[in-house]
Amino acid sequence: MVNDEFILLKNLHRTYQEAGLEHAVLKGITLTIGRGETIALLGRSGSGKSTLLNVISGIDKLDQGRVIVNGVDLTVLPERESTLFRRKNIGFVYQFFNLIPTLTAVENIALVLELNGYSPSVVREKSRAMLTAVGLGQEADRFPDRMSGGEQQRVAIARALVHSPGLVLADELTGTLDAETGELILSLLQQLVSDQGGTLLLVTHSLAVAKTADRILTLEDGLLSEQEGSFAW
């Protein structure tokens, strides 16, 4: 469980320009997440949940504030360093899977290892093992467009975890799946992250999903609150 300050968010502010008007999405978020924690982030559509994930991973810029992951201040890193940090330390899982359509299942997973400079034999071995771990050992050479939604999401999970990142960000990962498949996928992800000792930050609409987390955070009007209550969405 929580054993240090793995993620430190300090007074995050982010405003977008929309049709000439300023729209403040984050209005001073401050949060600490410990290593190995599972956090569920709830909020209405457009409340800024995805923006918060993007700034934590360094792919979106802040107007103000600091994001420190594993002691590294992402807000001061140059573009290239930020990319290399993300490549090594962060795994993503999306609602729409975002697999590379021109790579097979195993190649999608192997790509992350290749990018991280592993030798070809290690890449082969680890990506096969990871695919087996998500139950798709026999589907290695299939292309994403030949797989069901649940299968694609399992490949996406394998890709997010194959390089053992310290932080896994999941954005509505069960949103396009049926309830049963969604549950299986969620527990698979949680199990694998927990096995690796990683930290999981889940963005979700579902209270049921949120309840499986160590902590539940709610984002409303650009502010974060830690609570459990009734949810209308």
Partner: protein, 837 residues
């Protein structure tokens, strides 16, 4: 752990993307390959023609260092014997050359002295003892190379006829010689000097004397030579001969580079679309930690692979096309410049290397911008299509400003006074690029106008089709720009050829004011021509007969064409471009000469300047009183009053007579009267009517531009392929969108109509926009490229057929490009599309 430069899986993904979009990949490949094909083909054809010319020069020049060249009647042959006798110059040979035709093929007759040749040691007449005696003894003996004889299907001792300026003579093939370099002597026919003099009707005259001289002998010969003769270095003279057709080669190269420019823009367009299509995928890469530099390298590497493969293919097809083009190039050179035979197709490694490098470099350059765009791709999580389009729309005013800047810069280069072709190409490139940048904004404007025009009758499908262009302006703007450039090439080149043709027709009408022209077979037969002239003046129906003398003379700039005319009593009807006040009077009284526009342009001469010509009495300066339009010679012509010419050259020879008939007399009646007067002397005179000359001139003109037309068709083909690829890519990218429309109730027919309407509308816009760009391009081609290459000015006209062609090309390309995506979109499974969205 540091990663490799590019992960192999990124590579594999790219290759699969290309394989998956095989239509697009093949079309891009073909676009690059065709561009390289044109550059290589033209370069090889040009270098083969140049090589054939220098080989042919070499074969008759050998190791000759100097030449003595003469006045209007050539050199008196006694000069040669005096040279050998008085100065003891042994390494010398007399030469008489002329153009002949054998079985409808052009040959150059070389008459020389076999004994003198032995001392010069060159290809000419290298004969065995038995053959030598036959050559010397038989008054009709000629010698051909093995290849020449086999081409004419002639065997040893066969008698055949040769055509010399309308006359026919019988000759006998007494020897066939083999040579190490058959291409050098292929278009030549050799004879003893006496035989050649008889055949060419130049008895007692030589064209030149070839010499091998050291510095001491050179000074002796120079001091000894009479004033009317000139000693020149053979290398300098050969170079100036080679320069004569150089403008033609340059113009061909310009056309091939224009095709490559079009290909480059289309490669840029295709690569940009390929990046846009993969924006989502590149966004995933970025999320997974692929750096901007890696994305940039990936796109450039893809393009490099494509460029290398397509350029290699372009080399092969360039070799094949070059072999066809060399025939067209040779024909034009034969028509316009000099007799040339190219049988050996020269595969110049430098041409291949140049074509290959140009293909690769241009492809990489055209990929730089799309690669930079790709490098700026945001990670997938922060991408929004609408934001991208919004960014593009915000950029439009900036693009317009930069575009107008480039256009103005290009036009200022067009109007600059520099005599540089490179500047011309730069101007062309700037104008094309500048216009391309403005196209997307113009398209947005045209869409607004279209919506207003069709507002009362529009259906929902049509409205969606029109708005679709505006909504996806980042992609549609590019496709319309590419099609505009492609079509504008047709307009530009079409207007240039049409304008030149029109100008030449007008010029012929102005210059050819006689009814019948008579050319004597031998200009030296003065008494015969003079007597005919006097006889003709007495004939009923003939108003006036004038004579002229046209020949090559040496000037301070090398050989120029001199035309000596008698304007007595006749208004000088030469189309004048600029002249001093009272120029007609000054010219008629022999106080100055007129020079042709190309000579004035290339040598930067004008009225008030002087031109140095080598006369019988040595070099003399002649004041220039006017500049006249002339399209017969690109290296220059000088018009001089007849008496002035006679005074300085002492030549009474007549090259031609111009007969003016009474008003209303039919040409055929006039011709018959002249034939009756000529009577038994028909073989001595060639009679040709004004309309026949015009017909012949236009025939030569059209033959000259066959090659330009071939190039235009190829350039359009490059463009068509590129545009097809761009439009197909554009519509296929929207396949999902169409699937969703199907799912929401649009019938396959409606989807088809929507896509076809959209592409046709884009074709229409491109056709409309291509007209102003094409006219600007024509302006550059006429005012810069052609002017700087040939020195000609033209009256710019806009042939309606060019506009029809342009619009048809744009609409047909768009229609064809829309068919495949329309079918694909109409048959897409709505379920699949919805699931993917």
């Amino acid at each position: 752990m540091p990663g490799r430069l590019l992960a192999p899986l990124l590579w594999r993904s790219s290759l699969r993307f290309m394989a998956h979009h095989k239509w697009q990949s093949w079309l891009t490949f073909t676009g690059i390959a065709l561009g390289v094909t044109m550059v290589v083909a033209v370069d090889l054809a040009n270098s083969s023609a140049r090589r054939a010319f220098s080989l042919s020069l070499e074969s008759v020049t050998g190791n000759v260092t100097h030449q003595i060249i003469g006045g209007p009647k050539g050199i008196d042959e006694t000069i040669y014997s005096r040279l050998r006798r008085e100065l003891a110059i042994r390494s010398s040979a007399p030469m008489v050359t002329g153009r002949v035709e054998i079985r409808d093929q052009a040959f150059r007759l070389i008459g020389s002295d076999p004994f003198s040749e032995a001392q010069l040691d060159r290809h000419t007449l290298k004969l065995h003892q038995g053959e030598l005696s036959e050559v010397l003894l038989d008054p009709a003996a000629v010698v051909l190379s093995e290849r020449g004889a086999s081409r004419l299907e002639l065997s040893l001792n066969e008698t055949f006829s040769v055509q010399i300026i309308g006359r026919e003579a019988e000759v006998k093939l007494v020897a066939i010689f083999a040579t190490d370099n058959p291409a050098a002597t292929d278009g030549l026919i050799f004879a003893d000097i006496a035989v050649a003099q008889r055949l060419l009707q130049r008895t007692g005259r030589l064209d030149r004397i070839d010499l091998i001289l050291d510095l001491h002998d050179q000074q002796r010969v120079s001091a000894w030579l009479p004033d009317e003769l000139k000693l020149v270095e053979s290398e300098t003279r050969n170079h100036s001969l080679q320069q004569i057709s150089e403008a033609f080669h340059i113009n061909l190269t310009a056309m091939s580079l224009l095709a490559l420019l079009v290909a480059t823009l289309l490669i840029y367009n295709t690569m940009t679309l390929s990046v846009i299509q993969r924006r989502h995928m590149l966004g995933i890469y970025r999320t997974l930690g692929v750096s901007r530099r890696e994305i940039f390298s990936l796109i450039l590497s893809e393009s490099l692979v494509m460029a290398v493969a397509a350029s290699a293919a372009g080399l092969i097809s360039g070799l094949l096309l070059g072999q066809m083009l060399v025939q067209l190039v040779t024909r034009t050179i034969n028509d316009l410049y000099f007799s040339l035979h190219v049988t050996a197709f020269l595969i110049d490694p430098w041409s291949l290397l140049k074509g290959f490098s140009l293909g690769v470099v241009m492809t990489l350059l055209s990929t730089l911008l799309p690669a930079w765009e790709a490098n700026r791709t945001e990670p997938i999580a922060v991408q929004q299509r609408s934001v991208l389009e919004e960014q593009w729309r915000r950029r439009l005013p900036l693009l317009v400003i930069v575009g107008i800047g480039l256009l103005l810069l290009g036009m200022s280069l067009v109007n600059s006074d520099h005599d540089s072709l490179l500047e011309g190409y730069m101007a062309l490139t700037m104008i094309v690029l500048g216009f391309c940048l403005i196209v997307p904004s113009l398209v947005v404007g045209l869409i607004r106008v279209t919506l207003m025009i069709i507002s009362p009758m529009q259906t929902q499908v049509v409205r969606m089709a029109i708005r679709g262009i505006s909504a996806g302006i980042s992609r549609t703007g590019l496709a319309v720009a590419a099609l505009t450039v492609a079509v504008s090439v047709t307009v530009g080149v079409g207007v240039m050829i049409g304008s030149l043709r029109h100008t030449v027709i007008v010029w012929l009408e102005q210059s050819l004011n006689g009814d019948i022209y008579i050319a004597p077979a031998s200009p030296n037969n003065i008494s015969s021509v003079n007597s005919l002239m006097h006889e003709l003046v007495e004939v009923d129906g003939i108003r006036r007969v004038t004579s002229n003398r046209v020949l090559n003379v040496e000037s301070e700039f090398g050989p120029v064409r001199l035309m000596a005319i008698t304007p007595n009593g006749v208004e000088l009807r030469m189309p004048i471009k600029s002249s001093l006040q009272g120029a007609t009077e000054l010219f008629s009284t022999g106080q100055g000469v007129l020079i042709s526009e190309p000579l004035a342009y290339h040598r930067q001469l004008g009225t008030g300047d002087t031109l140095s010509l080598h006369t019988r009495k040595g070099p003399r300066q002649f004041p220039i009183v006017g500049v006249f339009y002339d399209y017969t010679s690109t290296h220059g012509m000088v018009a001089m009053q007849r008496d002035l010419y006679r005074h300085w050259w002492g030549d009474d020879s007549i090259s031609g007579l111009t007969v003016y008939g009474n008003d209303g007399i039919a040409t055929e009646t006039l011709r018959n009267s002249i034939r009756t007067v000529i009577g038994s002397r028909q073989a001595q005179f060639l009679v040709i009517s004004n309309s026949e000359i015009r017909q012949n001139a236009m025939g030569i003109f059209d033959r000259t531009f066959v090659i330009t037309d071939v190039m235009r068709i190829l350039a359009v083909l490059v463009a068509f392929i590129g545009v097809l690829s761009a439009l197909i890519a554009l519509q296929l990218e929207r396949a999902r969108e169409f699937g969703i429309l199907r799912a929401t109730g649009m019938t396959p027919g409606q989807v088809r109509v929507m896509i076809i309407v959209q592409t046709l509308l884009m074709g229409l816009f491109a056709g409309l926009l291509a007209i102003p760009l094409g006219l600007l391009m024509a302006d550059v081609l006429i005012e810069v490229i052609n002017r700087r290459a040939f020195g000609w000015s033209m009256q710019q006209i806009l042939p309606p057929v060019v506009l029809v062609q342009a619009m048809s090309l744009a609409l047909i390309s768009a229609f064809l490009a829309g068919l495949y995506p329309a079918q694909k979109a109409a048959t897409i499974s709505p379920a699949t599309a919805l699931r993917e969205e």
